[in-house]
């Protein structure tokens, strides 16, 4: 799966939780879930659970620590998919 496809899928996942719609429209590899999209920290769990469901992967506690931005999320998803 290429990076653009992953970002497009992430964009749909974070849509219900993103409070900054302008930042959401312009989501890219450098987007921060909290600082840019203004996702509240209790909803980051939902993003993580949605990513797990969509990609059929398990995000362990160690990986979860880094799920704060698009770049890290892509790295984690790619690593988990590659390891299967």
């Amino acid at each position: 799966m290429d990076k653009e496809t992953l970002i497009a899928q992430l964009k749909e996942i974070v849509k219900p939780y993103a409070k900054d719609q302008e930042a959401w429209q312009q989501i890219n590899e450098n987007t921060d879930f909290v600082k840019d999209l203004k996702i509240n920290s209790a909803n980051l769990v939902d993003v993580i659970l949605d990513v797990e469901e969509q990609f059929n992967i398990v995000i362990d506690n160690e990986a979860m620590e880094h799920m704060l931005n698009v770049k890290s999320a892509i790295e984690i998803i790619e690593a988990k998919l590659g390891g299967q």
């Binding site: 920290s41 209790a42 980051l44 939902d46 659970l49 979860m64 880094h66």
Partner: protein, 179 residues
């Protein structure tokens, strides 16, 4: 060092479905999940424990300057309850933080400190409006990592402040200025 977190319970109820499969296990320890299931009102316990983790995280983040998402590593235990206030400790990375959490009808406001003796020297604000009076004679600033502090206009000394906002509520906690 201080950290605070405020939760608008009506908004939290709209924004989060903590009963979703897998949700509690991602952020709460087994003991905390047990506390939630045993609670008279489980959702209140969810947000009390969550606010404790957030308040303690703000202290840790202020010191480390490292952003991580690891709520499960903040281990909360309750020690006392008096009317609308609950006290206890939060354990993280071999350190412990004391907290006090105030409950009003639609709001939970939790304040964490490195040691409970600091509770006596704090100005704590919980309310609907931005507390201008608390910030009198001070300028509110943020350092390069986005961590807020206040600059006293007379002494020019920086004073840590912890700010929290959720829905209809603001929470602000700072050390009382010594006169």
């Amino acid at each position: 060092m201080i950290g605070n977190d405020i939760i608008d319970l009506r908004l939290a109820c709209q924004e989060s479905n903590w009963q979703r499969k897998g949700y509690l296990g991602k952020i709460f320890t087994a003991a905390e999940q047990e506390m939630i299931h045993q609670a008279v009102t489980p959702s209140d316990m969810v947000w009390l424990l969550w606010s404790c983790k957030e308040a303690a995280y703000k202290i840790v983040n202020r010191i480390s300057n490292i952003r991580v998402y690891n709520p499960i590593k903040f281990d909360c235990s309750l020690s006392g309850q008096q009317e609308q206030s609950i006290t206890g400790k939060i354990y993280h990375a071999a350190k412990s933080y004391s907290f006090i959490s105030h409950r009003s009808q639609h709001c939970i406001h939790t304040i964490a400190v490195a040691h409970e003796i600091f509770f006596d020297s704090l100005d704590i604000y919980t309310g609907h409006d931005w507390p201008l009076h608390l910030l009198d004679k001070c300028a509110l600033m943020k350092n390069q990592d986005g961590i807020p502090y206040m600059m006293n206009c007379y002494s020019h000394s920086p004073l840590p402040v912890s700010i929290s906002h959720h829905g209809e509520y603001y929470g602000v906690v700072k050390n009382r200025i010594q006169v």
